[in-house]
């Protein structure tokens, strides 16, 4: 009998990927396609959802071709996706009614003023910010002519990227999973269903919403005999892929942004330090595992900005080479608050600053400050996580594209003063989606089975002098204050 595989679709912010895994969760083939980020106005970030769907179709075929297999050898498909990004499409034609509004988009910041933040936080676990889907859906309903009445009649549908892909892959099923739903700001975190009060507040018709399902079950077929059987928001997928199944287990994924999630078990933990309470995963009809999340809006995208916006480097990896030309930051700090500051600050209006410039500063120092910005933002989130959980992190499990950067991994170990550990598969987002799908169809038997696949591939030990760490940390804190100060108009 020929071997069977699980196919994972990782529909991310900057790219879409398809990866085929074997039973040991080893990559058999991997293909990726980048899509365009549109910035039509300051603060706006858009994607072309139709283009993303075409990319995904093409990538699925290529992943199978590169592995030399056909659909018959695919046991199941798992989807992990960029979260919160809003797609609204015409039910009859399947065409998006407007460009997708990406999570980083801040066009709705003026909507936040009149809203009751503590009620929303209580109901959804989310801080009031433009980051989540609700204000973006409302913006489309308010700004696309005739859309609200069509939505009320059920002629247009809303979904995050998972729903958009499921709808296209299955030929018309309108579903989402509970982790994605928990990021819309429309779901009650306790009942795990759409909340009438929130729908009311944001003036969003119930008829346009998908049905909420677990993260691991059969949702429908993408090809005859090939079920879609796992769906998770990308960060929750990474938590699952890192096999963070026990309360306290923590991982941090470094892609476009940085996302630190801690499994908190079957009860939601409310943060008093600016963290998000969110759903970690739900396997079939099993209990929900909740998570605390610290989100960093800008991590890898700062590197991309250095590449595309400044043209200082040709590829993202060259940031490490450039940063390696100097021994320290030369007194320079970058606070990349491009779309406000996320955890633990939640300053939607903050904008980025570069401080400490002197004529001594070279592009090498700037590159170093870019990597350090990710290090310090991680430190801020870890400090909040330690305070909320009453535990002290003893090691940080990392994954994502930025883990290719050895200097960055060392910087993080130094700033946190704990070891940083990379698992054998850096593409844990895809692993998590594959695991959820494989569990649902019996490709893997249970969570223990998955844990056997886990090994560490690399480990960075902290080596920074405590005084220097404290000195640098204090400078970073003042740099953050500068970013907030600068955005406060008198």
């Amino acid at each position: 009998m020929s071997e069977r595989y699980v196919l994972a679709i990782d529909q991310g912010t900057t790219s879409s990927r398809c990866i085929l895994f074997d039973r040991r969760a080893t990559v058999v083939s991997v293909v990726r396609g980048e899509h365009t980020q549109s910035y039509p106005r300051p603060g706006w970030v858009e994607h072309d959802a139709a283009r993303i769907w075409r990319d995904v179709q093409r990538l699925i075929k290529r992943a199978m071709r590169e592995a030399g297999i056909g659909p018959a050898q695919v046991a199941a498909i798992g989807i992990a996706n960029q979260r919160e990004t809003v797609v609204v499409w015409d039910k009859a034609s399947g065409t998006p009614v407007a460009p997708a509004i990406v999570w980083q988009d801040t066009r709705t910041s003026s909507m936040l003023d009149g809203l009751d933040g503590s009620f929303i936080r209580e109901r959804t676990g989310l801080p009031l910010a433009t980051y989540f889907s609700a204000t973006k859906v409302k913006w489309l309903l308010d700004n696309v002519a005739g859309l609200r009445s069509r939505a009320a009649r059920g002629e247009v549908l809303f979904g995050t990227m998972d729903s958009w892909l499921i709808w296209n892959l299955t030929g018309g099923k309108h579903l989402t999973d509970v982790t994605n739903a928990s990021r819309t700001m429309l779901m009650d975190l306790a009942t795990l269903s759409w909340d009438p009060d929130l729908l009311d507040i944001f003036d969003i018709p119930r008829a346009m919403l998908p049905e909420i399902r677990s993260s691991s079950e059969v949702y429908g077929e993408a090809f005859p005999g090939v079920p879609i059987a796992g769906v998770l928001g990308d960060q929750q997928a990474a938590l699952f892929g890192q096999t963070c199944f026990a309360p306290g287990d923590t991982k941090c994924t470094y892609g476009t942004g940085g996302f630190l999630l801690m499994n908190t078990g079957s009860a939601p933990v409310r943060s008093s330090h600016g963290l998000i309470t969110t759903v970690g995963y739900q396997i079939g009809s099993g209990e929900v595992a909740y998570a605390l999340e610290g989100s960093i809006a800008i991590a890898g995208s700062l590197v991309q900005w250095v590449r595309d916006g400044l043209g200082l480097i040709g590829t993202a990896s060259e940031i490490e080479t450039l940063a390696g030309t100097v021994g320290d930051n030369g007194g320079c700090y970058i606070v990349p608050a491009f779309s406000g500051l996320y955890a633990p600050y939640w300053e939607s209006e903050a904008r980025g600053v570069i401080v400490g410039l002197t004529s001594y500063i070279t592009k090498g120092h700037l590159a170093r400050a870019v990597l350090e910005a990710t290090g310090w933002q991680t430190r801020d989130v870890v400090d909040a996580m330690n305070a909320d959980s009453g535990l002290a992190l003893t090691a940080l499990n990392v994954d994502g594209g930025m883990t290719a950067d050895n200097l960055l991994m060392q910087i993080i170990a130094d700033f946190l003063d704990v070891p940083v550990v990379r698992p054998m598969v850096a593409e844990t987002v895809s692993v998590g989606a594959a695991y959820a799908a494989g569990l649902a169809v019996g490709y893997w038997s249970d969570l223990r089975d998955l844990q056997h696949n886990r090994h560490s591939a690399g480990r960075w030990r902290p080596g920074m002098d405590a005084d220097r760490r404290a000195f640098e940390h204090a400078n970073w804190k003042r740099a953050v204050e500068s970013a907030v100060f600068f955005s406060r108009r008198p």
Partner: protein, 254 residues
Amino acid sequence: MSHVPGLIQSIERSSAVLRLLAAGRLRVKEIADALDLPKSTAHSILRTLEHVGFVEQDTRTARYRLGRGLLELGEDGLDLNELRGRALNWADALAARGGEEVRIGALRDGHVVVVHHVFRPDDSVQSLDTGHLLPPHATALGKVLLAYNAPAVEVAVRAGLEAYTRRTLTLPRDLARSLTETRERGWSLSVEEWEAGRAGIAAPVRSFGGLVVGAIGVSGPVERLCDTRRQARPALVEHVTATARAITRDLAGS
């Protein structure tokens, strides 16, 4: 247009394009007109030259100029951190399948620099040696890199082939024979040539045009990498060479 038989026309045309660009920044149409070529041909040439790093296009003005690759002709044109980034997934898969630790190496200043290191997947205590230097003539990674780089062999021989164990190849003649064998079968083997009790298997990672830009390999105890006749285990060789081919496809393809 006249063309000497036996010479490759597209290379002649490419050199003409480079000469034009050395004089100034030009659009596709201007290049096509200057060389009396169809615009599509000029475009293909420019795209190929862009692919190998010899020309760059200014995204704002759409004009082409000479690329950084020409200024750095003495180097192999691949940033080592970029090599690690591109190879990451495949190196992990090799460690998982082969069950041994994996390293990627490249030649810099007469040494093999460890570009990437993946632990053996058994969760024993190990430490990363990314950035460390290895002797080219005594390691499997090094022998692959030397096998496709004659000047580097001369440098190594001139520096003196230091003996690390009694099996280290210290005579230029023996090294040359081992390198020929490496080229012939496409992978290298080092058994106790650097450290007693340890062996390595490695294969070349190539960029466009077949240029060897690095080596990837596994290392571990002799009894796990080799059979009783101290020959490399075929299954491991297959894993290593298949991984090297996968990275090569990635590097050469985009």
